[in-house]
């Protein structure tokens, strides 16, 4: 019964969240105040959006992306005021609501504060990614590379290196595949050689006589040698992808945290 109640309750809340957009008059007043550089007023209008801060978060209105857009504008206002400390708190909050937030709820032309807000959110994403990369481990990366060359590099943030390994490994694999196929064909040809092909009755004892066994055997041997070399190259590249993690660590993304 309580579970049913919760489901219904959350359903109602969720339904309301869908339509929990910024009220038009609030939006208009906030935009007007922003354009007149009355930032405190703009902030107040937005912060007082009905239901924005419920007694507990499940009662907050609106939710998710729509909520993130309102806070995007709040951060933008604070950045326009150069209140970076407060802006940081808001940006952190936006980031928890919607990591991909890139716009606000207000219809305002792009300005420096807008670009700065986007930039800061981008840096937060980058920082988060850096944190994720920093938490990767050597064993995790090596294991991944053992399964799939380049995957470990990708896991640790070395994308180019990862793709290089993947490409080289793929090429080596193709080369080995074709060499192996050629070897198998040659071998099959050798195995299919008939005694009759020696033409014993026609043999003259000179070099113009046919030697199909020997020729095809040598051909198969040559192909086998190439296929083995191709396999060695493939294994080498594969293992290089694994041992690459001995020399590389997690990638450094060059994170900037200018306002914090």
């Amino acid at each position: 019964m309580p579970v049913f109640f919760i489901i219904i309750f959350l359903g109602i809340m969720g339904g309301e969240a869908q339509c929990g957009e910024l009220p038009p008059d609030t939006k208009a007043r906030a935009e007007a105040a922003y354009l007149q550089q009355e930032y405190d007023e703009a902030f107040r209008v937005l912060a007082e959006t009905p239901g924005l801060l419920g007694v507990v978060p499940i009662l907050d209105q609106p939710k998710d992306k729509a909520r993130a857009e309102i806070f995007f504008d709040l951060a933008r206002i604070r950045l326009a005021q150069k209140d970076t400390a407060q802006a940081r708190a808001i940006l952190d909050y936006i980031f928890q609501l919607d990591r991909e937030a890139r716009k606000g709820a207000l219809d305002l032309a792009e300005d420096h504060a807008y670009l700065e807000t986007r930039s800061q959110l981008s840096k937060l994403r980058k920082r988060e990614r850096q944190n994720n990369l920093s938490s990767t481990t050597f064993m995790g990366a090596a294991g991944r590379s053992l399964v799939l060359p380049g995957w470990g590099q990708l896991y640790r943030g070395h994308r180019k290196r990862a793709f290089a390994f993947m490409g080289v490994t793929a090429a080596a694999a193709v080369y080995w595949f074709s060499a192996d196929k050629a070897y198998k064909n040659a071998y099959d040809a050798y195995r299919a050689t008939q005694v009759g092909e020696l033409r014993v009755e026609d043999r003259t004892g000179t070099s113009s006589d046919a030697f199909p066994f020997q020729e095809r055997f040598e051909n198969a041997q040559s192909k086998a040698s190439r296929a083995n070399m191709a396999l060695g190259i493939l294994a080498g590249v594969w293992l290089a992808g694994v041992f690459d993690h001995v020399i590389i660590g997690p990638a450094h993304l060059g994170v900037e945290i200018p306002i914090f």
């Binding site: 309580p2 109640f5 919760i6 309750f9 405190d40 007023e41 902030f43 107040r44 912060a47 007082e48 924005l52 801060l53 419920g54 007694v55 507990v56 978060p57 499940i58 009662l59 907050d60 806070f71 709040l74 407060q86 708190a89 808001i90 952190d92 909050y93 936006i94 928890q96 609501l97």
Partner: protein, 1067 residues
């Protein structure tokens, strides 16, 4: 106070709204204790824990606003809570109004808990403005998850609740208040718990100590009490907050709850939630939760409690950090180099701001100087947080290696070792003193160490040296006083402690030391005065320990006493102590003073780990100093013969084999690394033919035939401790009382590693094979012995008997007194030859202290008189002279406990007499005759006003002996004579003297009733009562014991009354 209120309201507005959104105030949430039938402590704690979770997410930094503030509320009745739990969507109107009256909030979070192994917490979140249910759901908890999920106590349901409410990283605890709004004076209320009050008290003591040491907040003494005297409240309602506001200086009250989880009802996991409640508004200003866990058996519970408390106090210090930051402004500005940062770190550390201290020390380590201070500071931080001991020691060693002259590091290192009972610390303190003998801290550390080891002489020397350097440290003065009391060095107490006590009368702790010294040297009046002063100085909780008599009354009286109201308890106590008073005639009660002394010593000596004391304290308060005491780790002393006899008797009852050596330790088996040696068992088994001669063989079958009881010397086992065979692996103490209940041994062990201090040694789970029977083990288990001793002899008071006064005589007679009262004349005589005569100037004199007490039958009222008087002594007739005196007291008629004490001041000899006396009522309606007072002489000349009776002098004769040729003089009064029509009375007096027939055997003709002497005469008067000083000629009387019979006949009314008394007639 009003200004504070306004400031706080301003803060509420400011803190709940951003500067631009001032009109939007935060919601107020009240969290009601959850109803938990199976364990009320669990319900109260979980409500607090969930409230803490809410508090931790009350603030939204993105908007600089609080979602809500938590407020303290009144509790709801169970009935109302039950009705609330049945609500689905909306609170019925008839419930809503009572709720609004009880709960000063917009929202109410309440719940109830049911348990089917897993606890289900049904939570209801109500909007009290609309009456709607905001949220309703169930979260679950299971004590075993603390171990299996590696969670803290209460964490699982709190996290589930947090998730269901949608709290995330976007919310934080509210920021600390501004300095001017922070509460400065805090009242600390005992933690709420019903089950683990001793543990709670232990935590409270540590909390108080740490908060006081940090000094950011001022703890004011006392606690809040409700009408029934309870101090542990689940919520501080409006009435209690008003009490705090009106009767204390408190700005806020620090309170909370405690819960423990553990196997078999133990306390392996401890959790405390604290909250700071503003007394004016009821707002919860701060909350914190802390947990501790005992993982290994050898983990000390005291260390775990320290860790839990450290977590709480560090956070509380952070809450008030702004106060410290303000105080440390100057130090911060000076922190430009290593020394500066290290000094700043030390200052932070002393205020409990460990995080800031750590940062400052780390900063100091980046500079060239100050490394020694920083390293030792880091070590202290580790220890305070309950971190790794070796890491802390390494920090101190690093500090010493950086600067060998930084003596504090030696002391911190010494303290770290000594706190763990590792004597290696002595060497470090000694090293510090070698480098600088005037370094006082090292002396104090050594003194504390010796004090804990009861090496009293060493402790005294160390403390004396410390006090010579730091004369204002009264804490150390108190410790020195304790040492001197142990050493019975009363002269040094007079020389060192008493002057400090007089100079600093506000220091309560020194008063009992001087009081006990006075008690021991029999200056009872001064001891009484000082103890009374001490009790007025200490807080209510401490005073109640001294006044509580449940520690000395028999077990069966506990329930009666506990059921009394405060006023009734006081009456009960007063009667109890009067009944126990060995000398009612003195104004002081030695027994009660001894009780105060014992309680104080129990608090000091046995209350270090447990509040108020461990089991040793309980035994000590009842029975005082044991006749023999031994302790693990001490060099044993050989007990007296009596003690040895008691131990051997109990040993014989318990064991089948004689002991290996002298019984100096516990007789009851205690945890050891091995039990009785196999070789010894084999030895006794081999000499089977000698079994009959074995005094330990009582013919009983030994209890252990089962393999499970077979002892293995390689395993942990239980065994007694003897001089030659001590394999104990648990700290123990053994106390012997030779005269309690026929001789008792109380063996204590410290099983819990510090949580409960010393407790009675438990019955071993694996019984040693050498025991005679399991029944005997149960019978002689110390806890059961104690219960039995309490029921047989609830307490013990061994008064040092003074030299007795060889002979004294007394007589108690009563006459009609004032309105509704009877006058009691207590006369006494002491032969002069038994008194010490001293010539004062030209007059030889004796000096007597005479005191008399009459306590009514239930000791409710005591009438007491005491006076010191001097008498001239006739040295020419010392062998025949005597001192005669009389004491008069008016009392209501009834049965009294009569005490007469005579003390020869000059020789110190004391004579005391106690008996029951019946004091007669002298009504107005019928003829009444007073008691007959035998007198030496009656004369018309009054030479001594003490003996005046009307116009005559009547000198009593308490010896009741008359010699041949001497008349039998006596004095009596007759009341309510009837007057005739002429206003005159007419009555007949008949006196008779008759020998008391002392011959044994059958009297064929009955007893001879004919008196030897008889006299009768008529008297006429005009008063309704008359004095009758009379004399009887004893010429015809028989020698030996005689009876004097007086009969009065009122010839007007025809009423008749008679009285008689006895005397000895000597030829």
């Amino acid at each position: 106070m009003r200004v504070r209120l306004i400031l706080l309201m301003v803060w509420v507005v400011c803190n709940t709204a951003s500067p631009v959104v001032a009109q939007n105030t935060a919601h107020r949430i009240a969290v009601m204790p959850f109803k938990s039938v199976f364990n009320p402590d669990y319900g109260a704690f979980m409500a607090d824990r969930i409230a803490f979770e809410l508090y931790s997410h009350a603030h939204v930094p993105a908007l600089s606003r609080d979602r809500f503030v938590l407020v303290e509320t009144d509790t709801l009745s169970h009935n109302l809570q039950d009705q609330l739990q049945k609500i689905d969507r909306r609170v019925p109107a008839q419930l809503l109004e009572p709720l609004r009256q009880k709960v000063p909030a917009n929202y109410l979070l309440t719940g109830s808990i049911t348990s089917t192994g897993i606890h289900h917490i049904d939570i209801l979140f109500l909007d009290l403005t609309t009456g709607e249910v905001v949220w309703k759901g169930t979260v679950r908890d299971n004590p075993s998850w603390v171990w299996t999920h590696n969670r803290e106590v209460g964490e699982t349901p709190a996290l589930e609740m947090r998730q269901q409410f949608g709290f995330g990283l976007g919310e934080t605890p509210p920021p600390p208040l501004a300095v001017e709004l922070l509460p400065k004076q805090i009242l600390f209320q005992p933690l709420y718990t019903n089950t683990f009050q001793a543990l709670a008290a232990d935590c409270e003591t540590r909390l108080r100590t740490t908060i006081t040491q940090d000094g950011i907040f001022t703890l004011i003494p006392g606690t809040l009490k409700n009408g029934r005297g309870h101090q542990r409240f689940v919520r501080l309602n409006q009435r209690l907050r008003t009490q705090a506001n009106e009767t204390t200086l408190a700005d806020a009250v620090l309170c909370g709850s405690l819960l423990t989880f553990g196997k078999d009802g133990g306390a392996d996991n401890i959790a405390i939630v604290l909250r700071l409640v503003d007394v004016n508004t009821g707002l919860i200003l701060w909350m914190e939760a802390s947990n501790g866990r005992r993982v290994w058996r050898h983990d000390k519970m005291s260390d775990i409690v320290s860790g839990v408390v450290a977590g709480l106090t560090e956070n509380l210090s952070q809450f008030g950090a702004d106060i410290a930051e303000t105080a440390l402004t100057e130090l911060r500005t000076q922190a430009n180099d290593g020394e500066g940062w290290a000094r700043l770190g030390s200052a932070y550390l002393h205020r409990g701001l460990l995080r800031q201290a750590e940062e400052a020390f780390e900063k100091a380590l980046t500079f060239a100087g100050g490394h020694a201070i920083a390293q030792s500071g880091m070590g202290q931080i580790i220890l305070r947080r309950g971190g790794d001991f070796n890491t802390a020691v390494a920090s101190f060693r690093a500090a010493i290696s950086k600067d060998p002259d930084y003596l504090e590091a030696y002391c911190y290192l010494a303290q770290a070792y000594l706190d763990r009972d590792m004597s290696d610390g002595e060497a470090y303190a000694a090293e510090a003193l070698k480098r600088d003998p005037s370094f006082s801290l090292a002396w104090r550390i050594l003194g504390d160490w010796f004090l804990s080891r009861e090496q009293d002489r060493e402790a005294r020397d160390s403390y004396q040296k410390y006090l010579a350097l730091e004369p204002d440290d009264v804490d150390v003065a108190e410790r020195l006083g304790r040492v001197l009391l142990r050493l019975k060095d009363y002269a040094q107490i007079d020389r060192l402690i008493a002057p400090i006590q007089r100079a600093k009368p506000e220091i309560a702790n020194l008063v009992p030391i001087v009081a006990i010294k006075n008690l021991r040297v029999k200056r009872y009046q001064e001891a009484t005065r000082l103890f009374n002063r001490f009790l007025t100085q200490v807080d209510l909780r401490e005073r109640s320990l001294f006044e509580d008599i449940s520690t000395v009354i028999p077990e069966f009286e506990h329930a009666v006493y506990a059921g009394l109201s405060d006023a009734q308890k006081k009456v009960y106590r007063d009667r109890f102590w009067r009944e126990k008073d060995p000398d009612l005639s003195s104004p002081h009660n030695e027994r009660q003073l001894i009780h105060f002394e014992r309680v104080w010593i129990a608090r000091q000596e046995f209350g270090q780990e447990v509040h108020p004391w461990d089991q040793r304290g309980a035994v000590y308060i009842r029975y005082g100093v044991p006749d023999y005491r031994s302790r693990s780790g001490w060099t044993p002393t050989l007990p007296s013969t009596q003690v040895q006899q008691v131990k051997e008797r109990i040993y014989r009852e318990l064991y089948a084999f004689p002991p290996e050596g002298e019984l100096i330790g516990p007789v009851f088996p205690v945890r050891s690394d091995r039990g009785i040696s196999i070789s010894q068992e084999n030895e006794f088994a081999a000499v089977g033919q000698e079994e009959e001669n074995n005094p330990f063989n009582d013919g009983l079958e030994r209890n252990q035939t089962d393999g499970q009881f077979t002892n293995n010397s390689g395993q942990e086992s239980y065994a007694p401790v003897t001089l030659q065979n001590d394999h104990s692996i648990v700290p123990w103490e053994s106390w012997v009382y030779v005269d309690i209940d026929g001789g008792l041994v109380f063996d204590f062990t410290k099983e819990m590693g510090g949580m409960s201090g010393y407790d009675f040694a438990p019955i071993p789970p694996i019984l040693p094979t050498m025991l005679k029977s399991t029944i005997r083990v149960a019978e002689y288990a110390p806890s059961i012995s104690f219960e039995r001793a309490v029921s047989n002899q609830a307490d013990n008071f061994r008064q040092q008997q003074p030299l007795p006064l060889k002979t004294f005589y007394y007589d108690v007679v009563d006459f009609r007194g004032g309105a509704q009262r009877t006058r009691v004349d207590v006369s006494f005589s002491v032969p002069l030859e038994h008194l010490l005569i001293v010539t004062d100037g030209k007059r030889p004199q004796v000096r007597l202290e005479k005191s008399v007490a009459l306590a009514d039958s239930n000791y409710a009222i005591v009438y007491r008189q005491a006076k010191a008087v001097s008498f001239d002594a006739d040295t020419a007739q010392v062998d025949v002279s005597e001192i005669v005196d009389v004491i008069r007291q008016d009392v209501p008629p009834g049965t009294y406990h009569f005490t007469l004490t005579l003390k020869d001041v000059l020789s110190g000899r004391v004579g005391m007499l106690k008996r029951e006396v019946e004091i007669e009522a002298y009504g107005q309606d019928k003829l009444v005759l007073s008691d007959l007072m035998l007198v030496k002489s009656v004369s018309d000349t009054i030479e001594d006003v003490r003996f005046r009776r009307g116009s005559q002098q009547v000198i009593p004769n308490p010896t009741r002996t008359y010699q041949s040729g001497q008349d039998l003089a006596f004095y009596c009064e007759v009341y309510n004579l009837t007057k005739n029509e002429f206003g005159q009375t007419n009555y007949k007096v008949t006196t008779a003297v008759k020998a008391i027939d002392q011959r044994a055997g059958f009297r064929p003709f009955g007893a001879n009733e004919q008196p030897e002497v008889a006299l009768s005469f008529e008297q006429v008067g005009d008063l309704e009562w008359e004095r009758l000083p009379l004399a009887v000629d004893l010429t015809n009387a028989q020698t030996g014991p005689n009876r004097l019979i007086v009969i009065i006949e009122d010839l007007v009314s025809g009423q008749r009354i008679s009285k008689e008394t006895s005397f000895e007639y000597i030829p």
